[in-house]
Amino acid sequence: MRRLPAVALALFIVVGAPGVVGAHHILGVPHYAYDERYPQTPVLTYRVEAGRFELRMTGYPGKIDPGNRATFHVYVTRLDGGAPFDGIVTMTVFEERLLGEDPVVYGPMEAELDERVFKFHPRFENEATYLLRVHFEHEGEPWTIDLPMAVGEPGSPWSVLLSVAVGLGLFLVVIRAVRIKQRRAAAAADRMVSA
């Protein structure tokens, strides 16, 4: 009887626990669950059609921190039949700026087909929003796809919000002061009239 818990535990482990936990690959990145929103799923996934091709891109890690290298896998396959595009795919990464030109921080980098995928490994130094430009040509026709992404948490809204709050507070104090002055002036005028 004393051994019952140990037997039950052993049975539970044999029956209840999964057999072999192993990562399989979905679109080129390790994937540990069938749940599509499982945390390891790359956050960056894009799909777009370009002429006779479908372009899919996955980014890993999904949340990129500044100073880190990312891996982007680009799949370009024919819409009819799914055969992979076997030409050259180019990636250029622009750091988005509010004013002026967006500087190129990666590329233009060319990649050839490597087991059905075109691989790129840009490094993102700054916390900012970026534009990934993927380019390829088929039968003399050029195609460009722009994909937006962010690294880290570019900019903080708190300094702006704090400035707005302080400005609003000052504004309301000034309005209040002027209203008090207006009221006193009106009261004084009333007294003058009644006197």
Binding site: E36, R37, P39, V43, L44, T45, Y46, R47, V48, E49, A50, G51, L55, E96, L98, L99, G100, E101, T129, L131, H135, E137, E141, P142, W143, T144, I145, D146, L147, P148, M149, A150, E153, P154, G155, P157, V160, L161, V164, L168, F171, L172, I175, V178, R179, Q182
Partner: protein
């Protein structure tokens, strides 16, 4: 016959509404979807969008141009009797003659509920923009602001006039902060109540804000930045707030709000109006509560006296006058499209210039989303050695002024062709400018329908994950970004809108010519150069729709 025409005029907007809605619904039921027909854009054009949407096919484009030409000369030949203002007034349906609807519309809770919902959405947008992911495709702020609201606003004007102002969140928050009671009646007034500066008592402040917003939107790509979108929303709230605490009534709504003034000018066309039922009854009114206010509500916030109100431009449909009028003499009417353009009594230069700027900037908006614009900017950069932002600004200025200069020249020809009019060049310029509003409005709608119907589908997934934080609030986060109607239906809607706008512009220019000239033959001769202008502008609209349109948002 006249009665039948009145009924047709009243029914037409709603026939268009039903047909377009049914076409979209059927298309969606049959599977629709432009997603499969969106294409990556061709190389060499540095737009921010993720992909482009195929433009009108050649047969439809050339067929539409031919139809525009046929209709133009057909309308010129069409002889209609001149209608007096009193005849125009007959084509109205008093919606508030049904007592329950009057109670509902006039009750302050109705407005409060609408405002509360929109204020909630506004703060959701601000929060998502400020604190959510800055990947524009994963954040609800850009979609809700630029695709749903900014594009939907013009649709609202077309069918419900100034309904947006009724629920405007900036006005609501500023008003509540200033002391206005959310549930009606006059609250504490915390404003200084100063008069708006005399020099700025026109809509130039709103026009300049509109040009500035367009520059920010297209030149700096604010539509692709959640945080910049939130800052813009906060900025508008700041304007409304400052104005509420400093100036009398809702001076900002009247003079400064770009949304209110654009929708106000477009609302000259809209099929609803707030008007008095019987002007004679107002003559004997001692209280003038609609203007001064009473315990039931405020006087007109935009300084209009409803007894003499003849146009929608400055009415914000707040329903205060419906609430305060003791005699229940103010009502909400249904009317034909373009009613205010038919008998436009007091043309103003600030309004006329806004109409022309709307024509320029709506076209410019479309142009910047075509690959041709990328070539123009690249050309300017190379020729003048300028940076991206300066080249864009220069191009924008040229396109802003181009149609105005062309119009000014054609007005000169129209005056010369008309011959015997006592009206000055200025009056010709002002009156004909209003006639271009339908072309601007309907191109704006055709362009916006592209955004709404092809990008709006993303709302389903973003509602479940508004901040891009991998939430799934309603179980729709993984919903496909399936994009509305098929291209065929979209093209049909767009062409129909351009043609409708063109015909209404021709009709409005005819009315303008009749106001400028006593003799019908002189009016027709004067109208010919305007006809050329309208054909040019409508053909330009169709050409823009023919171009592959680079959409704002990429998709997953």
């Amino acid at each position: 016959m006249t009665r039948a025409r009145d009924l047709a005029g009243l029914a037409f907007p709603w026939v268009v509404f039903v047909v377009v809605t049914a076409a979209i619904a059927v298309d969606l039921l049959l599977g629709g979807g432009t997603a499969g027909e969106m294409h990556a854009h061709h190389a060499g054009h540095g737009a921010d969008g993720g992909a482009s949407l195929t433009g009108l096919p050649a047969p439809l484009y050339y067929g539409s141009v031919a139809l525009i030409l046929l209709l133009s000369f057909g309308v010129l030949e069409w002889r209609s009797e001149r209608r007096s203002a009193s005849r125009e007034k007959e084509a109205r349906v008093d919606l508030l003659s049904w007592a329950p609807l009057r109670k509902l519309v006039a009750h302050p809770v109705t407005r409060f509920v609408g405002q509360a919902i929109v204020v909630g959405l506004f703060f959701l947008t601000l929060a998502a923009g400020l604190f959510g992911t800055q990947v524009s495709t994963r954040n609800i702020a850009p979609l809700l602001t630029w695709t749903i609201w900014w594009c939907g606003l013009i649709v609202i004007v077309l069918f419900a006039g100034k309904a947006w102002c009724f629920v405007c969140p900036w006005d609501a928050v500023a008003g509540w902060a200033e002391g206005k009671r959310p549930l009606g009646g006059r609250g504490a007034n915390r404003s200084l109540g100063l008069r708006w500066p005399r020099a700025l008592r026109n809509i130039w402040p709103a026009t300049i804000l509109f040009i500035g917003l367009t520059w920010l939107e297209l030149g700096l790509g604010v539509t692709m930045s959640p945080r910049a979108t939130a800052y813009l929303g906060t900025g508008m709230l700041g304007f409304a707030f400052a104005s509420a605490f400093v100036f009398d009534r809702k001076s900002f709504c009247r003079y400064g709000c770009l949304v209110g003034r654009i929708s106000g000018l477009y609302a000259l066309f809209s099929p609803v109006e707030v008007r008095v039922k019987d002007r004679d009854a107002c003559r004997g009114c001692k209280t003038q509560s609609c203007y001064r206010g009473n315990d039931l509500g405020d006087g007109c916030p935009t300084f209009e006296y409803p007894a003499t109100l003849a146009q929608n431009t400055y009415c914000i449909s707040c329903m205060e006058c419906v609430r305060t009028c003791e005699a229940e003499n103010v009502t909400l009417n249904l009317r034909p499209w373009g009613a205010d353009l038919a008998e436009h009594r007091k043309p103003r230069s600030d309004e006329a210039y806004l109409a022309l700027i709307l024509l320029s900037l709506t076209g410019f908006h479309g142009l910047t989303m075509t690959s041709a614009w990328g070539d123009v900017v690249d050309g300017v950069k190379a020729a003048a050695g300028l940076g991206e932002t300066f080249a864009f600004s220069l191009g924008m200025l040229a396109i802003l002024l181009g149609p105005v200069v062309l119009y000014a020249a054609l007005v000169g020809v129209a005056r010369w062709a008309g011959g015997k009019s006592a009206a000055s060049y200025r009056e010709h310029f002002l009156r004909y400018a209003y006639a271009l509003l339908p072309i601007a409005l309907f191109y704006h709608l055709a362009h916006n329908s592209e955004h709404l119907l092809s990008e709006g589908g993303r709302l389903l997934s973003l509602l479940s994950d508004p901040f891009g934080w991998e939430w799934d609030l309603f179980g729709t986060a993984g919903a496909s970004a399936g994009s509305g109607v098929s291209l065929g239906t979209l093209w049909g809607i767009q062409v129909a809108l351009i043609v409708i706008g063109h015909v209404y512009s021709l009709w409005a220019s005819r009315r303008a010519a009749e106001q400028l000239y006593a003799a019908r033959t002189d009016a027709r001769r004067s109208q010919l150069p305007m006809l050329v202008a309208m054909i040019l502008f409508s053909t330009m609209s169709l050409w823009l729709l023919r171009q592959p349109m680079e959409m704002r948002l990429s998709w997953m």
